[in-house]
Assembly symmetry: C2
Homo-oligomer: 173 residues x 2
DNA sequence: TCACACTTTCATTAAAAACTGAAAATAATG
DNA sequence: CATTATTTTCAGTTTTTAATGAAAGTGTGA
């Protein structure tokens, strides 16, 4: 007797697989994106074996990617009493997911870039004319833009969903 | 006699190399990011051979990545009269770069995701209770969030830098 | 129309990234 | 403390992605 999945589980299957492909285009490992999709749509927290079985992947792979997701603060570990296994549960609130990803990307991707730009700007601060000056200016422009973006992001990150929505609605007119 | 680079060119060298590494963390091919960095800081448009020589990469590699950057609208082709070579010039205006990247990412990454979410939501629209309903709701929430984000992005994309700045300043208080 | 300058493609190779599976480490239980 | 359940690591393998370099294609001008 095979497992005849209910309709919503078929849609979920599709979601997981496709989210995985989209992930790779985003530069996110396929398995990580799939696990995230799986957990975002999980009625209950899942353990490593659940994930392994569902996605037909190895223990090492499941483990590593689950822990990476925890490192991204997109997934948290749940323990049930009388059970020594770890269960994993994804944040499902879309606004919270957005905030979390914004924070992490800022930290991992934007801030290192800003550091590089500042370093390059500092090294050329005495260039007064020509290409050297232009280079310095370009580094500074990029730095200012990203730094300003970070400020905006920090503000949004600190907002409640409702306030952010209100604010954005005003923009849309 | 070796080429003793001026100070700003050393900083540029650093910028190109490091921007390349940052790129890979972003999911952008190293060479593509390096070429982009090189062109963003180029006093003059560069031809394929210039890029090959500077980055010590093959013709095929240089060609493919230059054309990919053109496909991203981050670089445009310049022709000089009396010269049949193509020269490449990157957009240097930070705000324009931002707009361009936003547009492309929307098209390549967000819109396909929205399509998937809508499909999954549609397939489960009749689920009235329990996990099936929750799944449907989750797909809808994600869809709504991303669609709203696209609207905001479209508005920002259509704004002049100055207006966007003014608007953001208001947010920052 | 031939030769040349340049661009594009693509089969092959190289490099990087992701995944496996099993062993080692850890920690809970009795 | 010994057993057992579970997590973590990692050397080796597979898969994917990127880069090479040479050949094919294109189009311009003599």
């Amino acid at each position: 007797m095979s497992k005849e999945l209910p309709e919503w589980e078929k849609a979920r299957e599709e979601f997981v697989v496709q989210w995985g492909s989209l992930g790779t285009q985003w530069g996110i490992p396929r398995t990580m994106a799939q696990i995230h999709a799986l957990l975002m749509t999980a009625p209950e927290p899942m353990c490593t074996d659940d994930v392994m079985e569902r996605l037909e992947i190895s223990r090492g792979n499941a483990h590593t990617n689950l822990k990476d997701l925890v490192g991204w603060n997109l997934v948290r570990i749940i323990t049930k009493k009388g059970d020594r296994k770890e269960y994993f549960e994804a944040e499902k609130d879309v606004w919270k997911i957005f905030i979390t990803i914004s924070k992490e990307r800022k930290r991992r991707e934007i801030e290192p870039a800003i550091n590089l730009l500042r370093d390059c700007a500092a090294r050329t601060k005495d260039e007064a004319v020509g290409p050297g000056k232009d280079f310095h200016q370009q580094m500074q422009d990029l730095d200012e833009f990203l730094s300003f973006g970070v400020k905006v992001a920090d503000t949004v990150i600190s907002m409640k969903h409702a306030s952010a929505l209100q604010w954005a609605m005003r923009l849309l007119g």
